[in-house]
Symmetry: C2
Subunit: 400 residues, 2 copies
Amino acid sequence: MAQAVRHDAMRARNLSLVLREVRTHGSLTRASLAEVTGLTKTTVSKLVADLLDAGLVVETGAVRGGERGRPGVEVRVSGDRVAALGLELNVDYLAVRVVDLARRVRLRLTQTVDNRLSEPLDVIGDLRRLALSALAQAEGTGLRVVGAGLAVPGPVDAESGEIHNAPNLGWRNVPVGAALDLGVPIRVENEANLAALGELWFGVGRADFLYVSGEIGIGAGLVVNGALFRGARGFAGELGHVVVTPEGPQCRCGARGCLEQYAGQDAFFDAVGDRSPYAPGIDAIVARLEQGDAATLAACDKAGWALGVALSSAINLVDPHTIVLGGIYAPLFPWIGGVVAETMGARLAQLRAQAPPVEVSQLGSEAAALGAAGQVLETVVADPAALSERLTDRRDPAPR
Amino acid sequence: MAQAVRHDAMRARNLSLVLREVRTHGSLTRASLAEVTGLTKTTVSKLVADLLDAGLVVETGAVRGGERGRPGVEVRVSGDRVAALGLELNVDYLAVRVVDLARRVRLRLTQTVDNRLSEPLDVIGDLRRLALSALAQAEGTGLRVVGAGLAVPGPVDAESGEIHNAPNLGWRNVPVGAALDLGVPIRVENEANLAALGELWFGVGRADFLYVSGEIGIGAGLVVNGALFRGARGFAGELGHVVVTPEGPQCRCGARGCLEQYAGQDAFFDAVGDRSPYAPGIDAIVARLEQGDAATLAACDKAGWALGVALSSAINLVDPHTIVLGGIYAPLFPWIGGVVAETMGARLAQLRAQAPPVEVSQLGSEAAALGAAGQVLETVVADPAALSERLTDRRDPAPR
DNA sequence: ATATTTAGTCCACAACGTAGACTAATTCGG
DNA sequence: CCGAATTAGTCTACGTTGTGGACTAAATAT
C-alpha cells in the first residue's frame, strides 16, 4: 500500500538513489552524481557525507584525470563494513556464503551431504553450525552481517519462513527460518527464485529473464525489470509442472505429462539408464556425451525438446527477454541448448520477431546462495537510512 | 528508474495518496483521512483544499452522524470535472465510452461492423468520428476529457502506439494512435490487457487475477497486486498459443496444438458445425446449449478441457489468485466453467492446497473500453498535481 | 604566471509537513 | 435548557530537507 511521504522518507529515498547510482556506475564523483540523480551538488554532498559516515561508501583516492578543471573525488561502495549471509539447504549439499556490500564473495563454506537421510532438525543444526562459523569469521574481519537469506528446494511461505512442502527433501511444514536462529534477520525463499536473483546480480542476468533451475524438480525464477515475480501466493515459477503432453506419463504431482517427467533429473537419468542421480552422476553423463554415446545424446534431445515446449508456453505467457539455463542444464548445455532453442524457435518465431535467446548460467550451484545474500544487500541499498540508525546505535553516535 | 524526490514530488505523492484513499473509501472526512494516511490533520486539510480547487473532489453535505463531537465534512471523488475516453477497435465492432473520475459511465456509443472488410484507415476514420462525437458531448456537459485509451485485438508497441500485427484484423504495423488524432493524449494497448483492467476497476476483479479473453484469438491479462503485468517486451498473456498438445493440429502461428486450435472462437464454431462466428453466432450456440444439443455440449467439453490444460500451465507459472473468464466464455460459462475447473483441479490440487477459483466476467464486451478509460483515470489519480497544472495552465497541452 | 574550467562547500531561502494551541460544532448529562 | 465533553478543522510557529547561486579549491590551457 502506498505510504505518506514525509521529510525523512524523502531523505531515505534520495540516500538510496545515490547509493544505487554509485553501485551501478562503480564509482562516481559528487558532481557526476548530481548530474545522474538530478539533485543539486549541495544535496548530493550532504547525502554522500551521510553515506561515508555510515561506512557504506568510501572515497577512492582516484580522480577523474586528463580534463580541465578541478578533479573530482570518486566514491565507491564500501565492501569493508556491511555484509550478508547467503545460505542454501538443498537435497545433496549445504552452502554458506558471506558477501559484502560491494558484492564480493568473502567466504565460501560448502558441505556435501544427502539430506534426505536425516531428520529436518538435524539438517538445520548442521547448517546452523556452518552459518555461525561463517558469521564469526566475518565479524572477526570487521564486517557487520546485517541479515541472512536462505534458499530451500520448494515453495515457501515468505511471511513465516516456513517450508510448506519440499517433496524432494520429503519435508512438510518445517519452520526453517525460526529453527536456524542465527541472531540476524533471516529470509527464506524458494531456491529457483534466489538462483535467478543470483544470476541477476552475480552472473549473466540482464534486467529481464527467466532462469530455469534444473534439479530433481524443475523450477523457474522470473526476473522482470530487476525484480522477482512471485505471483499472488508466492508459488509462481513451477515450470516443472507445465504441461508438455496432457495425457503423458503420470507425475508425482498428480497430473500427467508434466515437464518434470521428461526433463527432470530423475527422468533424465532414468532415460540414460543411470540410477545414481547425484554429483558423480552428472559428471558421468557429461563424460558419456563427450564420447558421443547415442543413448545419452537421445535422452538430451528428448529432454531438450520437452524443455523447449514448456518454455514456449512460458514465453507466450510471461514474455521474458532471455532464457537462462541453470542447474544440471548448465553442464548439459552444449548438448541441450541447441534443441531447446530450435524447439522454441519453431513454435515462436512467427508470432514474435524472434524467440528469446537461450543462455547458460555461469554460477553453477552457487547461484542460489549468492542470490540469498544479494537479496539482503538489496534491502540495505533500498533503505540505507534504516541501517545507518542500526549502525549508529551500536557504535559511537555519529553527528546528525 | 528511480527518481530523486524533491519537495514537489513529495507533495504530488501525498496528493495522490489522499485522492486514492478518498476513492477506495467512497467518502471520508479530513480527520479520517489523517488517520488512514498517517499525515497530520493540517497537511490533509491543505491537500484536500488543493484537490477541491482542482475539482477532483467535492464536499458532500453529508456528515458522519450519531457520534459525539463536531461532525466531519466528507469529501468524495468528483465525477463532474474530469473524464476519460475509452475506445475499442475490434474485429466486429467499435466501442466508445466516456467515464468520469468517479468511474461512472457517462456515455456509450457502439457500432457493429465487420472491420476485416475495410481498409485500416477507413476503420480508424469511423472510430475517430465516434470518438469526436463523444468528446463533444462530454465537453458539452462540462467534463474535461484528459485522455483516451484504445483497445485493439493484438500486440501493441506501447511507446509508439503502433499495432504490430493483429492477425484477426489482418493489420500489420498500423500507427493507430497517431492516426486517430483526437487532440488528447492517447494510449494504445492490447484488448485482453485492458479488459483485465476493466474487470479490475469496473467488474468482479480482485487485486490478483488472470483474465481470459476468448475472442477469435485467446488472450489473457494478468493483474498482479492491482497492476498489469506486461512482460519484457509487452507481449505477455498470449494464452492462445500455450501448448495443449505439442503435436496437435497446425495453428496459424506456425506451431502445433496451441490452445486456440481447441478453444478459440473459430475452432469452437467449427466443432459445432456453425460457420457464422459473430454476434448472432454465439447466441445461437447458447440457444442450442439450452436445448441440450449433444454435439454442442461435446464441443464445450473439449474447449473447456483444453482451456483447463492451458490454464494449469499458466497457474503453475504465474500463480494468479483467481481466473476470470470473459469474451465468449462468459455466455458459455454455465456449460464450460465446470469442465475448466475440474481439469484444473485434477492437475493442480495436489501441489497446491487448491486450484484458483474460476469466475465469470460481468462486463461482457464492454470490459476493454472501460479498462482503457480507467487506465487514463488511473494516471490522474497517480499524479493529480500534473492535472491541476494542466487545468490552471489552460492553454498548454503539456506532455507527461 | 594567468585565465579558464570544473569540483565541492557555504549560506540564505523556499517548500512542505509537524505539533499543538485554538476555534467550531455537535452530543451527553443533569 | 445549559454547560461539559468530544471531535473536526484551522492557524501559527517551527523543523527538516532540497535549492540556487556565490564562493573557494584545484586542476589544465595558453
